[in-house]
Each structure stands twice: as C-alpha cells, then as structure tokens.
C-alpha cells in the first residue's frame, strides 16, 4: 500500500509540475483537502484537489512612476527628496525586471529618491496604501534587488488572503493574544533582528532571505522556508 501511495504522490507532483498557466495565473499544486461543513450545514467530503491555475491577486504588472516632490502627508518631514537621476532610474528598472513575478503584481508604484532616512540605517521606506517606495542614497550602494524584494514583500503581505496570513502566522509561530493588534512569538531567532517586531516585518525579511540567501533560510528556518517554497516557489 505504501508503494501505491508513493506512485500516487509522484503522479500528483508530476501532474502539478506539468501544468502551465497563462499570463496573470499561477499553478497551484494538487493537494488533499480535508472534509468540512459549509455554513448552511452541507457536508463536503475530503478529496484530492487536482492541480489548477489560480489568478494572481493582481493589481496589474508593476509600472514605475518616478516622482520628484515630497508626497502629501509624508510623516518624516525632515527627509529631503529629489528626483531619481537617469542612472538610478535605469538601475531600478533593470532590477525590477529581474524580480519574481509574484512580487510585481502591484500595479503602479511611485518611486522617489531621498538623501537620507529619518530612521538610522534604513535604505528604503514604503507607504503601502499610497503605493510609494522611497529609496535613500544608501540603497544604491547596497544590494538594490534585495532592498526592492523586501519592500515589495510588504506589499505582497497586504494582498495575502486571510487564510494565507493565518497559515504564515502558524508556520512562523505568531499568535495574536489580546485586544490590541499585539502579536507575540516564542521564536528567539529571526532572519533579521527587526523580524521580532511583528509578523509583517518578519514575512518581508524572510521573503528577502528566501531569494537572496536561500541556503541560510533553509538551514535556519526550515519550516518557514518550506511554506515559502510552496507559496512562492511555482509563482516565479
């Protein structure tokens, strides 16, 4: 019977890998679904869900608009903004073209350049609802791909379904235990120290490391890496 299960698993995996999806869709591997009751009381039995193509939660492919002026209502008043020069714009565009597709389904993003962040050692700031990314001068002396991956991972976190969010909290051991939005974790180790702040920062760091330092991620955070591989892996 074990042999039968192995053959069945190979068949499911191979059929999942074989599936090809059109633009704007990504493949979801076949998986077993447990039984459950619908709200009207209907019993839905357990089954093996076949591989299928699912639409990205997409706001369209990423399009960059470079802005010069300080965005209205920007909270860090002392930051000095400037238009990104031609060289920087070219650099940003080149990097964006190499990013995984799942990170770039955010529609129009406004990018600004600024001299220095109000926060120490910060290469970039994102305003999620306004869809703004501010890149400080230091970011161009660092790994820009890594920085943009991290910033776009924040946008991705906000497009996760409630189910995906909860899956992440579970695998990364985050629990929400009181009235305020106040998460806690028993983990003592994070891919980057500020991941201890909250699940969103932890997620953005882990996505960044997943792409930039996959071996480090896999070695130190195997369960999170496994979940990210499943979630991001076939959405390149």
């Amino acid at each position: 019977m074990k042999l039968f299960s192995i053959i069945l698993s190979i068949f499911i995996v191979s059929s999942a890998l074989a599936i090809e999806c059109t633009e704007g869709m990504y493949p979801v591997s076949g998986h077993p679904r447990t039984a459950y009751f619908r709200t009207d009381g209907t019993y839905v039995p357990k089954t093996n869900v076949s591989s299928y193509c699912k639409k990205y939660r997409s706001e369209g492919p990423l399009q960059i608009k470079f802005l010069r002026k300080i965005p209205k209502g920007w909270p860090f008043k002392k930051e000095v903004f400037r238009k990104c020069g031609d060289k920087k714009q070219k650099n940003i565009n080149q990097v964006v073209n190499t990013l995984p597709k799942i990170l770039t389904q955010v529609g129009e993003i406004k990018i600004l350049c600024a001299k220095k962040s109000a926060t120490a050692n910060n290469p970039a700031t994102s305003a999620l609802e306004e869809k703004i990314i501010v890149l400080y001068d230091s970011s161009f002396e660092m790994d820009l791909k890594r920085i943009l991956t991290h910033e776009l991972a924040h946008f991705l976190y906000h497009s996760l379904s409630t189910k995906e969010l909860k899956q992440y909290w579970k695998v990364a051991q985050w629990s929400d235990f009181n009235q305020a939005q106040n998460f806690t974790t028993k983990r003592t180790s994070f891919s980057a120290p500020d991941g201890a702040t909250d699940p969103e920062e932890d997620f953005a760091n882990n996505v960044e490391y997943f792409y930039a330092e996959p071996e480090v991620m896999s070695k130190n955070f195997s369960l999170i890496t496994k979940w990210l591989s499943k979630f991001l892996g076939d959405k390149q």
Binding site: M1, F4, T34, A35, Y36, F37, R38, T39, G41, K46, R57, P75, S117, T119, N122, A124, T125, S126, A127, L128, E129, E130, H154, H158, S159, S161, T162, K163, L165, K166, Q167, W169, K170, S175, D176, F177, N178, Q179, Q181, T184, D194, T197, D198, E200, E201
Partner: protein, 164 residues
C-alpha cells in the same frame, strides 16, 4: 476471491483508515452567542473548555494581573481561530475570533454590520508608522470601540474583537 476485488478492498480499507476523524461542527449560533455575550458574564473558562477542550497555548498577560489568554486553532484548518481572555474570576472578558473558511460568509463584513446595527458602527482608519513602513489599519468600530472588526483592502474580515 477475485484478485481485482481483493486489491480494491485493500485500497478502500487503507483510505478509510487514514481518514482523520471529523471534529463535530460547532454551529454559527454558538459563535454569535459568544461574540454577543462577552460582557454578560455567562461564559467561563469551564464552559469554554467543555466545548473546545484544552487550549493550544496559554498566555499570561504581564500588564494585567490575573489575566489569561487561551488560544485555540481551527480543528481542520489548523491555525488560530479563537483567543479567549479571562479575568481573575475566570470569566470571559474579551474574545478575538479569526473566522476560517467554513464561516467566511456567516461572519462577513456585511453580516456583521447588519447584526450590530444597534451598536452604531463606523468604518475607521488608523495610520501605523513603523521605522520603514507606513500603513493604514482599516476596521469597523462599534459600541464605542468595544466591538471591532479588522478587515483588509478586499473587505475580507480578518478578526473580530470584543471586549467588556
């Protein structure tokens, strides 16, 4: 016995032995009852335990003495579904509920607004500043902030929080 039937029988028996036992459905009325009666002092640790069993995790809130938070996961989806907070007399004093897919439609934003019509609900936005992220939290605030529904930009309910 024909070999074909024997193999078929083996497959069926193996499938049925691997089937996880289906946890008894807890109906929507019970969930509404808890959400609506947090301040009525009718729900205690004992009653919660009778229905949900032992919690997955217990937190002792350092800021408020004698307060405990019990965390329960969804029986089949396996991630956080409920947080129950108790006072020093073991009475329920707050609840945080994360609806899972079986109750998405029951506890939709629309249904919650209708259900809590007498509680004067308002949609609110709160700006949250992190060192390098600026974001807005959107929520439905009812009953002078005692009932809050947090939702995302797709209007999907993430959590329902009720306090006394």
């Amino acid at each position: 016995m024909n070999w074909y039937y024997l193999i078929l029988l083996l497959i069926i028996s193996s499938c049925s032995s691997n089937q996880p036992s289906l946890i008894q459905k807890k109906d929507a009325n019970l969930y509404w009852n808890i959400l609506d009666n947090v301040s009525a002092k009718i729900w205690t640790k004992e009653k919660i335990k009778e229905i949900w069993g032992e919690p997955r995790e217990i937190f002792h809130d350092q800021k408020q003495e004698h307060r405990e938070s019990w965390i329960y996961d969804h029986p089949t989806e396996d991630y956080q579904e409920w947080t129950f907070g108790f006072d020093e007399n073991d009475y329920l004093t707050f609840v945080k509920y994360f609806p899972a897919s079986d109750f998405y439609s029951e506890f939709s934003l629309n249904n919650l607004e209708k259900h809590w019509l007498p509680f004067h609900c308002e949609h609110k936005t709160k700006q949250v500043l992190h060192p390098h992220v600026i974001k807005n939290l959107t929520y439905l605030s009812c009953d002078h902030q005692k009932r809050q529904v947090e939702y995302n930009k797709y209007k999907e309910v993430l959590s329902i929080t009720i306090e006394q």
